[in-house]
Subunit: 210 residues, 4 copies
């Protein structure tokens, strides 16, 4: 049973930061998610971001793996929001293990339907933030788009914002001040499109399964 | 300059079949696209499918590579439609070369804006059909979702329909009669969602670039 | 500093099972790794397999993340072996999060050299075993080959053995009896090639960095 | 039937440049392949590079698609060499369509065995060169490693050399003078390892199929 989104209220977002490092360690992904969150709030959307590894999330593909698994609370916050922001660093050119762990937990949506016979995640828009020292953002975006789309999310035009440095360099996004202009332009476009689409889907949900 | 979609008319689709084989050779991808097209038509959407290799499409990343390049006519049909269906076989676990060639041609959209300062492809929904003897559909979907999303398309929930056989088997989708029930269910869901989303975007286009 | 491989002894292998489930839960990946291990032993190679989630492995990219991190012992067993077998299930078409976690830990090799100035992992051969209910093996193999090759492993011809079922089916590899003939043939070829190549690299290591 | 490699002669390499642009257009991939070729020659390996689109290569998965197909001559040069260098640009984060077209043609090796019952490509080492304005090299490397490994090639440690710029930048590798030091170091390591491994496999071929 999904937590439902209240009709008539403002749109909400929820972001997950899939950095490998627990708080309070600095995180480039956090920095990018901060920019995404700020842009969403300027568009009238309220919400928050959680760092996955600060929570005791179990490996698995169910919605509750028991034994103190803290995924259920994160899952509820995803379903309470209209816009899901998945932020991940790149490691070896791939989504971080923590990001894949999140997608594995979302896999449970494939077997969870609402009272319309639709996956519980329907009518929610997903956008993606990716950072790395170098190379890998497009592949990470591809993997995450496909994973999130499989489990019911809709991807707005220009649904990824990212930054990576030149090949084999070691600069961190968090140390760039001001943040790169092209990335910030992408954040603006992505969030504008996400809000537009989430608002349409809030008003006119996908049809029921026959 | 984009071919524009007329307001008030019925929704339209256009499909590209990225098989490596020219007509009249049988194509499993064609078979899947036939099912997708039929489902769209049952939902009131009109359109057609073209087989890319029946046209003289050049390698390149511009919208017109000259010397008899037949991409411009296919490009126009993509932009005249509300729903773009990209169908591809799997080779070595990857999108067919012809599918990547199509994405390379679509890359030109990154530099082409409409009178709102938005990519010419905006407000169009893309869905994906993938078939292979075995293995590879999710990765193909990932690559195609990301490529099409980068160049401005929106991906509806459940935006891929596919079929693959068991590992290292050689059955062709076109020889399955009746077609696999799970694939047909996915076709129904994908097209229902695509039509819903395309209709919303037709009525309420993405906002202009500031 | 790498654990070194003793000259003149028999070749050794070490396998990691990246299932999400702790022992004693049954694991299809374990079943495939069992076949790989048996084939290696028939070729005179000795070794063992560990299930990653049975150990307290931390998220991170260092060789020892402290606080009871049990990666260092697994890392040592990898370096003591000539052949590294990485086995993973497929989730959402991707390598399991646990597999990506292993690759992130191996990323530390990029900064660890032996007395020849070479990465500590050099002269070791890596092979891959992948299982899933359906679809994804080629992409998983691609991601794992590239990750392991980046951190210094050599990939023999035919370096992956896999099984997946037909699209959207739910059969588990562990329930197939006898195991699929094509997968078993691939296991035989992969292990024969791996042993040949590991033996060559044992006798004639890669040259020192200049 | 494979062209065989003569015993006792010097090692040979053959490179394919998968740029989308025909000669004499400048090509960043050509520039990278030039550095790879030079490094191989300094190690005593002789060979050459061909630009695929200068030849009339057909779409397909056979070794000769007829109608003037010029793949058979390229295929022969691949099999006459000990080291195959596959160079490709990145488009939309993926291997160029021309690179995938090459892999599709190599797919025919899966059904072609030598007099030992082994794929005709066995005992050959493959290395990869990748360039792009930004992002995508690791994914391209992954796709190409897996594709080439499936069809019988062996991947040496550090089997990819690449360059990409910072996110969303437009600098071309061919305009960097001098070439980036890190890329050149990688070229040196990759070629040193490839030559070592190709020499071992020349002397001690993989065992025959039982």
């Amino acid at each position: 049973m999904a937590a439902s989104k209240p009709a008539g209220s403002a749109l909400r977002y929820f972001g997950l930061n899939c950095t490998l490092k627990g708080s309070p360690a600095e995180s480039s992904t956090e920095r990018l998610l901060h920019h995404v969150g700020t842009a969403l709030e300027q568009l009238g959307v309220t919400g928050s971001v959680a760092r996955v590894v600060d929570h005791n999330v179990a490996f698995g593909v169910g919605s509750d793996e028991g034994n103190g698994d803290e995924w259920p609370a994160l899952r509820r916050r995803i379903l309470e929001a209209d816009i899901f922001v998945l932020g991940t660093p790149i490691w070896l050119g791939h989504p971080a293990s923590v990001c894949q762990m999140v997608m594995e937990r979302l896999d449970a949506f494939l077997g969870e339907t609402d009272d319309q016979g639709r996956m519980v995640s329907y009518d929610r828009v997903a956008i993606v933030g990716v950072v790395g020292n170098e190379d890998g953002a497009h592949h990470v975006g591809a993997s995450v788009f496909q994973g999130l789309n499989d489990v019911g999310f809709t991807i707005p035009a220009g649904g990824m914002a990212y930054w990576v440095g030149e090949a084999m360099q070691s600069t961190d996004f968090k140390d760039l001040d001001p943040p790169p202009a092209k990335t910030m332009t992408t954040v603006a476009t992505m969030t504008r499109n996400a809000v537009h689409l989430a608002d349409r889907l809030r008003r006119d949900p996908y049809p029921a399964a026959p």
